[in-house]
């Protein structure tokens, strides 16, 4: 039998009985995609790199989802939900790519719900909580400007899966960056109060920015193999974009020291801030309480 719409199909419970809502019952986002590791590339390194980029997207997406029902306007809530959804989609592709590359065969859910804090490789910028809407906008602007430069560089990656995910992500993150940049300008050019909020937001994220351009051994090896971006090489474009946004309403980038890591290690090594544990508790509690549950 056929159905006029997918909703109708769900309503008639014609499926296998494991689903109750639209969008559930996920299948492998890389189903049918050739996930062979390119010649001369270390699969474990490629998997680790995809986890870094996937964790950035997953954790940032989760923080954005926490703004639902808290945003100042319905339109902003819709925007944040859509940005979170784009990033979640990127995370799913990257985590699935990690499992196919590192030889463990783990799926996206294994990575998202089954790892401990020390095993997450996201930059700390993605995990910190936002004090207010100004803080969120500043963080989203920095995150999006950096991620867009990163994905743009990865369009030429020697790993065709990574290159395809990046090319797709560029179009999406371009909208995210414009959104955050436009709000930064609006807040800075609004009232003294709104200007103070965005300035405070920028001051809060500035110490987390240096980490974005640090290089791990995995990135160094994969960059030499033509697979990964070189983080320091993204700095010029990032600075140029942030500079244009700040100059629009005469904001300035604070001269603050970078947030310290532990023995030179930070998010990419699994060293996170206190906020990360609380975030993971919320993200993983259902999956840990009901392992293997389907719905």
């Amino acid at each position: 039998m056929g159905f006029d719409t997918a909703y109708e199909a769900i309503a008639e419970e014609a499926d296998d009985g494991h689903r109750w809502a639209f969008g559930t019952g996920f299948t492998d986002p890389l189903a049918g995609v050739d996930t062979a590791v390119p010649e001369g590339v270390d699969g474990a390194d490629l998997g680790a790199y995809c986890l870094m980029l996937g964790d950035d997207a997953l954790v940032m997406s989760h923080r954005l989802q926490q703004w639902l029902a808290r945003a100042p306007e319905l339109e902003e809530e819709t925007a944040l939900a859509n940005i979170a959804l784009d990033l979640l989609g990127q995370a799913r592709l990257l985590l699935a790519r990690a499992g196919a590359a590192d030889g463990t065969g783990r799926g996206e859910d294994d990575y998202a719900f089954g790892r401990l804090e020390r095993e997450f490789r996201n930059v700390r910028l993605a995990e910190v909580a936002d004090a207010d809407f100004g803080g969120l906008i500043a963080r989203l602007m920095v995150f999006s400007a950096w991620r867009l430069a990163l994905l743009a560089a990865l369009r030429d990656s020697r790993d065709p899966v990574l290159a395809a995910v990046a090319a797709k992500g560029v179009s999406e993150v371009a909208y995210h960056r414009d959104y955050a940049a436009q709000w930064t300008v609006r807040l800075a050019g609004g009232t003294d109060h709104s200007r103070g909020r965005i300035a405070a937001g920028i001051a809060a994220v500035a110490p987390l920015t240096g980490e974005l351009f640090a290089v791990t051994d995995v990135e160094r090896r994969l960059n030499a193999a033509g697979v990964a971006a070189d983080p320091p090489a993204l700095r010029a474009e990032f600075d140029a974009v942030i500079g244009v946004v700040l100059a629009e309403e005469d904001l300035s980038w604070p001269d603050v020291p970078a947030l310290a890591g532990v023995a030179g290690q930070a998010g990419r090594h699994g060293i996170h801030t206190e906020a990360m544990g609380y975030l993971l508790a919320e993200l993983q509690s259902i999956a840990r309480a009901h392992p293997g549950a389907t719905w």
Binding site: M1, F3, A6, D15, D86, G89, K168, D178, Y179
Partner: protein, 180 residues
């Protein structure tokens, strides 16, 4: 083809070309759950129907990375094929990335008829990505009254692929499929 109780045309057993044509016909008719006036073919996400040995392969590409509609369309496609006594393996194709430019002329007409403005041409995304500090200035015509110069009220809307606009003439709000 009619959707309910569809009876597949009589085909000769082992007639690969006819089977592929039938799979294509059925694949093209699957609607998008979020934009039910559009089919897979209208959206331009059906990338091919081919034979690989004895198997029939249907290739689909996602619109946005996180769009949950693709999973629903895959299931709906499998269901429709099964109803016609057919089976095909559905494969995801990621490259080249989907562009709103791939929405067909028929798809654009259906969107407009449903009160949703179809997308402008997509920007080139091969080189550096320009920053836009003012709300997008697109020449969007109102799908209800046809007046030009609608203003954007929000850069995002109810689904990943749309923005919100308001007509300058009739003042009606409407959705616009973003160019990507």
């Amino acid at each position: 083809m009619s959707r309910r109780g569809a009876v597949p045309p009589r085909r000769r057993a082992g007639d690969t070309v006819s089977v592929l044509a039938l799979v294509r016909e059925i694949s093209e008719s699957v609607p998008d759950p979020e934009l039910p006036m559009l089919t897979l073919a209208d959206l331009g996400i059906l990338r091919g129907v081919s034979a690989d040995g004895g198997r029939v392969i249907v290739s689909l590409t996602p619109t946005y990375s996180g769009c949950p509609a693709l999973a629903e369309m895959r299931r709906d496609l499998a269901r429709r094929l099964a109803a016609a006594g057919l089976h095909a393996e559905v494969r995801t194709v990621l490259s080249p990335a989907w562009s709103s430019d791939w929405i067909t002329a028929a798809g654009r007409r259906k969107l407009a008829a449903a009160g949703i403005a179809p997308p402008s041409p997509a920007p080139y995304r091969g080189g550096p990505v320009p920053l836009t500090l003012t709300p997008a200035r697109r020449d969007v015509a109102c799908p209800r009254c046809g007046a030009p110069g609608a203003e954007q009220t929000a850069a995002f809307s109810g689904t990943a692929c749309k923005a919100l606009y308001r007509c300058a003439a009739c003042r009606e709000p409407f959705e616009y499929v973003k160019e990507i």
